[in-house]
């Protein structure tokens, strides 16, 4: 009986009672978060911190900046630029391809949307390695696409579609497209179609209604997808390694080369730390401009 009474707040609004209740709630949430925090701490913070420390340890085991000084060499400058170029192109490509798909999905009946969504998610269930090899088979000189184009008389000579920048971009787009479509779709689903009707009744053409009403409302999903795709692109290894033909040098591949070339782990760690720092800086800048944190429920 007493517990029931305690659960009901006193009729007179007792400030200290609510303060205590809120504190209790905060504590229980904190306790619930402990397992998650421990996992993140052990699996993310500790290794990254260790990486950071290692990057300042030189060949002779002492503290030094030699691992960072090396990064001014041309190979790292070229690779850094290539990595961001590819990430930029893949992000742009996935917006151009993903937005219309997400829009279509959001306009379909729930049943049709669910069926189409399977095709978007299906690639997730296939290994990246298998998908990458499939592209190799399709795109190579005597592959399906070149054979068709030649036999149809559209081209005389096979065009180089793989083992270069193009092949890498195609392969990465394929892997990353769902990461653009899914956030876009979920934000488009929440857009009330009454707004569009209202725009039409005010005399807006369908185009005008889309750009002035629908597009701005879909922006949170667009930003989320852009950030996801861009950041995932920066760390890609397998797809560029297999489809780039060794001519597309990504940052992750330089990390791998450093691991085997240098006996001190600091060399490769410095590359990892630099990429992490630059990525965080870009996220922070995007956040300033677009207030990305709002998307994740920030205030």
């Amino acid at each position: 009986m007493t517990s029931v009474i305690a659960a009901v707040p006193p009729a007179s609004s007792d400030a200290s009672y609510f303060a205590r209740a809120e504190r209790r709630e905060a504590w229980s949430f904190a306790l619930l978060a402990v397992p998650g925090l421990v996992v993140i701490g052990l699996l993310l913070i500790v290794p990254v911190g260790w990486l950071f420390v290692l990057s300042f340890i030189g060949k002779d085991g002492g503290v030094s900046l030699e691992n960072y000084a090396r990064l001014a060499q041309p190979v790292y400058v070229i690779t850094f630029v290539t990595t961001f170029q590819i990430a930029g192109i893949v992000t742009l490509g996935s917006i151009l391809l993903g937005y219309p798909v997400a829009y279509l999905l959001s306009q379909l009946s729930p049943r049709a949307a669910a069926i189409c969504m399977i095709f978007v998610i299906l690639p997730f269930w296939t290994s990246v390695l298998v998908r990458t090899y499939a592209w190799l088979v399709l795109l190579q000189r005597r592959g399906l696409i070149n054979s068709w184009l030649v036999s149809l008389g559209i081209i005389n000579e096979p065009i180089p579609l793989v083992n270069n920048f193009i092949g890498t971009t195609i392969g990465m787009l394929h892997v990353l497209l769902p990461f653009m479509i899914l956030p876009l779709y979920s934000s488009m689903k929440t857009i009330d179609t009454d707004y569009l009707k209202a725009a039409s009744s005010c005399g807006a053409s369908p185009m005008r209604a889309f750009w002035d009403v629908f597009f701005p409302l879909s922006r949170p999903g667009l930003f989320a997808g852009t950030v996801l795709v861009f950041i995932l692109s920066l760390g890609f290894y397998l797809t560029p390694a297999l489809l780039g033909g060794g001519r597309v040098s990504m940052w992750s591949m330089q990390i791998a080369t450093n691991v085997s070339t240098y006996s001190n782990w600091g060399a490769a760690s410095a590359l990892g730390v630099l990429l992490l720092v630059v990525t965080i800086a870009i996220l922070a800048a995007l956040n300033k401009v677009f207030r990305v944190d709002k998307l994740y429920g920030g205030r």
Partner: protein, 350 residues
């Protein structure tokens, strides 16, 4: 009566104990080693040709794992308790591992080095089999006028076509020097500037820099390239598939696979005995038949057994093939890899 039965109990117990101790001793006598190689077909052939017969002879059980290069050996050694007793690597990595102190010194009082070239052994590694890096091409593309050496490979005007080489500086720089006219016996110490300048000339004509042997096979087999720098053993699988390709041992690079014992290996003593056994002419003589397009590291292997003309033609270290190739000197790479790696990578990434 009670005394008798307790006596019997005692003797039974003693007997059981003796059996237990005895079987424990038998189990101890059965040494075992864990071998880590590159995996795949290569590793299983090395096991069949070298590990199984040596293990049988010495009564050593062989367990197998695979590694992912020198970096993984470093991790094992740094852990203080490596899980591997014998690793097989390429010659440049063995030399580098030795200079980094990753391997136990080999016990040369137990290894008969007669027939094993001094280049193919270090204080802490020894060759297991020769490996060639060759020039291969599509027969239907070049018909009766195929490229014959690296000079031809470097001449896109006389020999048009798509080309591939591997992405690592080791071997690529030697090939660049051979193409530039350096004598095959005067390659070392490598003139890095000249090699990179020579590579820069051909770079625009290279369509693919491959990263794995499987990728190289696939490029050749699918006709993605017309000419390729490729490991001889990897041409073998393409030839076996009936693809219209050919290759030459002329000016090929003669490197080798090698064994090392990771520092601190639990079964180092057994590993020493196994390695000594595996480089004997008798066991090396299994290579021409079981590892075609590789070759015995011990040249006496060719005299302990009669080989078919076909096996001798395939074996890269047979008397008729060995002298056509340029021997690799891994020691140069152990000292210089860090110095040239980034310049080479910059050239490729451009």
């Amino acid at each position: 009566m009670t005394q008798f039965s307790s006596g019997m109990m005692m003797s039974r117990f003693a007997f059981a104990a003796a059996v237990l101790i005895g079987s424990a001793q038998i189990a101890l006598a059965q040494d075992s080693v864990t071998f880590a190689g590159f995996g795949g077909q290569y590793q299983s052939s090395v096991r069949k040709a070298l590990f199984d017969p040596a293990g049988k002879k010495l009564g050593v059980r062989v367990r197998e794992e695979s590694h992912s290069g020198l970096a993984s050996v470093r991790v094992q050694v740094q852990s203080g308790k490596p899980g591997w007793d014998i690793v097989q690597l390429g010659e440049a990595d063995c030399a580098r591992g030795q200079s980094e102190g990753l391997f136990e010194p080999l016990d040369y009082s137990k290894i008969d080095t007669a027939g094993i070239a001094p280049l193919a052994r270090g204080t802490a590694y020894i060759g297991s089999n020769y490996v060639s890096t060759v020039l291969a091409w599509q027969k239907d593309k070049y018909k009766d006028k195929p490229p014959r050496n690296w000079k031809d490979f470097w001449d896109p005007k006389a020999f048009p076509g798509r080309r591939a080489m591997h992405i690592y500086p080791q071997e690529s720089m030697e090939i660049a020097l051979l193409a530039d006219g350096v004598d095959k016996d005067k390659l070392y110490p490598l003139d890095a500037d000249r090699a990179l300048a020579s590579l820069a000339k051909l770079k625009p004509s290279i369509d693919v820099f491959w990263q794995s042997g499987a990728q190289a096979s696939q490029l050749l087999k699918d006709g993605e390239v017309d000419m390729i720098v490729i490991w001889g053993s990897r041409v073998a699988s393409v030839l076996a598939d009936g693809a219209p390709v050919d290759f030459t041992y002329d000016q090929a690079l003669l490197g080798f696979g090698c064994f090392g014992i990771p520092k601190g290996a639990a079964n180092a003593a057994a590993a020493q005995r196994m390695i000594a056994q595996m480089v004997t002419p008798e066991i090396q003589a299994n290579i021409p038949d079981l590892l075609p397009y590789y070759g015995p590291i011990n040249e006496r292997a060719f005299s302990v057994k009669q080989f078919s003309a076909e096996a001798l033609a395939k074996a890269n270290s047979s008397p008729q093939n060995k002298d056509r190739q340029a021997p690799l000197q891994p020691a140069w790479w152990a000292d210089n890899i860090a110095r040239v790696q980034e310049r080479y990578q910059a050239l490729i990434a451009k």
